[in-house]
């Protein structure tokens, strides 16, 4: 603490602010909202659609990231939680005229409930075995809409009443605002969760089960809790997707989606919330780029059609080799390296506030 003393006066109050996670996170959330509001107002309507999509992908990946980075569990079935959230919210929107927040909350609750149920075997299963269970979940949930087609309208899906935006706001911009607001709130909640008693307990359980038990924690309860929180985030993402697409159909929630979410998390950096945004950007833009290339070619061959998958594969391999902790981990490491070199550009760039921490050992990178 003594190191803080020789800092600038302004820095001191900033430090004090940071010591209050909730206040600090909310402040940053408001800041992010302001920046993103300006962004959504200055880009085209189509770009607003894309921003909304990035936002709900980021929510789902952040949820997965909390599960994997926080409690060390792997889920290959997060697409299923999204599907439950989407169908929960979608059915409510189809049958009732309620304020938007109600169907979304129903979707979240449904996904969290399923997350709790799936989390129970997680107390006994580890690694690949848990991955197997979640994989089975992804496959099973995908089949339910066609199995109970009177309720879910099978393959054709349910049409969602897209709420009309107030005051003549463009619908695409309106959806972007809703998704971004939800994403910012999710990030604030998850950031607080990870800094809370539960978050610390989760990490303790992840790192050493027995030590955590000795410290009076119940590892099993922690694992189930992580699953529920993570599934709730995925459920929110699903509800937003239903609203965004105007339709909920099983084709949107294939096993491929679950794999994509996992890939997004790995690309962005497991266990970090910013990494979720990098992952979401990759998930949305890689297909865009490959498609804009292939749609101009005169004939679609198997090679051009599969370009997207190839680019994803290469991206994952490159990231795993060059930066095993994802884009975010790589950026953090780079930032740290820059700060350690005193004579370089970095000293000019790095604020005086950070000079004290040059001797800080590197942060623990999440698995």
């Amino acid at each position: 603490m003594s190191l803080i003393e020789h800092r600038l006066p302004g820095a001191k109050s900033l430090e004090r602010l940071r010591s209050q996670p909730l206040v600090w996170h909310l402040l940053l959330g408001v800041l992010a909202a302001a920046v993103l509001y300006l962004l959504t107002s200055s880009v085209s309507f189509y770009d607003n659609t894309i921003i909304a999509e990035i936002a709900w992908y980021a929510i789902a990946i952040a949820g997965l990231s909390v599960l994997t980075g926080g409690s060390g569990q792997i889920s290959l079935g997060h697409g299923a939680f999204m599907a439950v959230g989407a169908y929960g919210a979608g059915l409510m929107m189809e049958h009732f005229r309620l304020p938007l927040v109600v169907p979304i909350l129903v979707g979240i609750a449904a996904a969290a409930l399923l997350g709790t149920v799936v989390g129970l075997p997680a107390t006994r299963l580890r690694g690949p075995y848990l991955a197997g269970v979640t994989l089975a979940l992804a496959l099973a949930v995908q089949d339910l809409p066609t199995k109970f087609s009177s309720l879910f309208n099978g393959d054709s899906g349910i049409i969602v009443n897209q709420a009309t935006p107030p005051g003549g706001v463009n619908p695409q911009r309106w959806l972007a605002w809703i998704s971004l607001l939800a994403a910012i709130l999710t990030m604030v909640v998850l950031a607080n969760f990870m800094k809370s008693r539960f978050g610390r307990a989760l990490k303790a359980v992840r790192d050493d089960d027995i030590a955590a038990q000795a410290a009076g924690l119940n590892p099993n309860r922690m694992r189930v809790l992580a699953f529920a929180v993570s599934a709730a985030a995925a459920g929110l993402a699903g509800g937003l997707e239903a609203l965004w697409g105007g339709i909920v159909s099983p084709n949107s929630f294939s096993l491929f989606l679950s794999i994509q979410l996992l890939a997004g998390m790995v690309i962005g950096g497991a266990g970090t919330l910013i990494g979720a945004w990098w992952g979401a950007l990759a998930l949305v833009y890689v297909p865009q780029w490959t498609n804009s290339i292939t749609s101009h070619l005169s004939s679609a061959s198997t090679v051009t059609a599969n370009l997207q998958n190839a680019v994803f594969g290469v991206l994952i391999i490159v990231i795993m080799m060059a930066a095993p902790s994802g884009i975010q981990g790589w950026l953090r490491a780079g930032y740290r390296r820059l700060r350690r070199r005193p004579s370089s550009l970095a000293s000019a760039l790095s604020p005086p506030l950070d000079l004290s921490s040059t001797s800080t050992p590197p942060e623990r990178t999440s698995p």
Binding site: S19, L28, T146, Q172, G245, I247, S249, Y285, Q308
Partner: protein, 443 residues
Amino acid sequence: MKDSIRSRGRPLAAAAVLSAAALASALLVIPSSGASLRPARTPGVTAHRIVLGTTTPLTGPAAPGYDEIAPAANAVFSYINAHGGVHGRKITYLIKNDQYDPTLTVQYTQQLVENDHIFADVGGLGTPTQTSVQSFLNKHHVPQVFVESGCACWSQPKKFPYTFGWQPNYIVEGKILGAYIKSHFGRKRIGYLYQDDEFGQDGVKGLNREIPHRRVVGEQNYQGTVQGLGAGLGSQVSALQSAGAQVVALYTIPAATALALLAAAQLNYHPIWVVSSVGADPPTLAGLLGAFSKGKAGASLLNGMITNAYLPPETAGTNPWNRLAKAILKRYDKGFHWDGNSEYGFALGVTTVEALEQAGRNLTVKSFLNALETHAKALSNPGLVPLIYSRSDHYGFSGSEVVKITHDGRAISVLTPREITTLRGPITVYRGKPDSIPAQFRK
């Protein structure tokens, strides 16, 4: 201690700034393929160019077979472009791979409309996928034409004036096959096997309108997913066998048709198969039968199968449309397979060119829709029955003929073309002649 204070909240601070920066930079670098095209009075139309777009599965579980359609349609456009275009305008066809996932359909369709400024969305594939963009396209006054699905939902001209179907809808198809079954196998016991979704259910609806209920001894269905088909259709087929069905009507996709035929062959069960055109393309089936049985079975199982057709059978080598299709595809769609899918894409491409031709030199959305609604009969295409667009109906082909597959894989007509001009109307004989090949394809 110091460390914990420092790291607190950092992720979010950086998240806000970085994500905003990333979004902004990503949006800037995305190449907008329509950037060169100034949105004129009619989007996608300049003096020398018409931009059309579509979404279709080129990869993923729905892709095999369907991935041939859009490239075949594009081959027709390439041919027309090489021969002067339509009223001097060359067609650009932007094909987006939506993998049969509505999430991607929404995204790509908006991109086509708002960034690429397409004139029309032509030949989008699938019921859930195209449903997800039906409101959007209509709200933006972008024609959503020749949707590749037999859903009756494409014909709602009051609610969706910009949407037009293309292939006969599943109910109409079911009625024609049902009427054939009733008149030819009226005394036999009949069984159904159908995909448990809108396609199969609508088909059964059509069958039931013609076939007396007491004749139906068994109804079986399956889930049209990878898992639903993974276990084969042995139990369903065996149930139909024990029910004593002598005629089995299939509303199945090609993979399911092949599985049903193989299961029956194993059970030594040989009913008369009546299969919807959706799942009855002989070259596709022969390939699947060979693959599923590891070469033990093949096209011989298709002998005697009855199906309906609204395009000339692709085995009709002397049909002038087929000859034209093969010549164009050979030149402009490298590595194409001649089967029901490429023929479908070719016919859809021809219909598009004809509609643009009919819309006249001064091409607008209005003139285009007007051409469809009032000049439908003038749209020359390979179809065996006419397209019946009008101000009150946006369905597409009015019916089909019924054919039988011979031992050597040819399709011979067993019932001349029948049509149903309104959804609830009676089945009538179509006496018109097939369209002749229009001038712009005879260059």
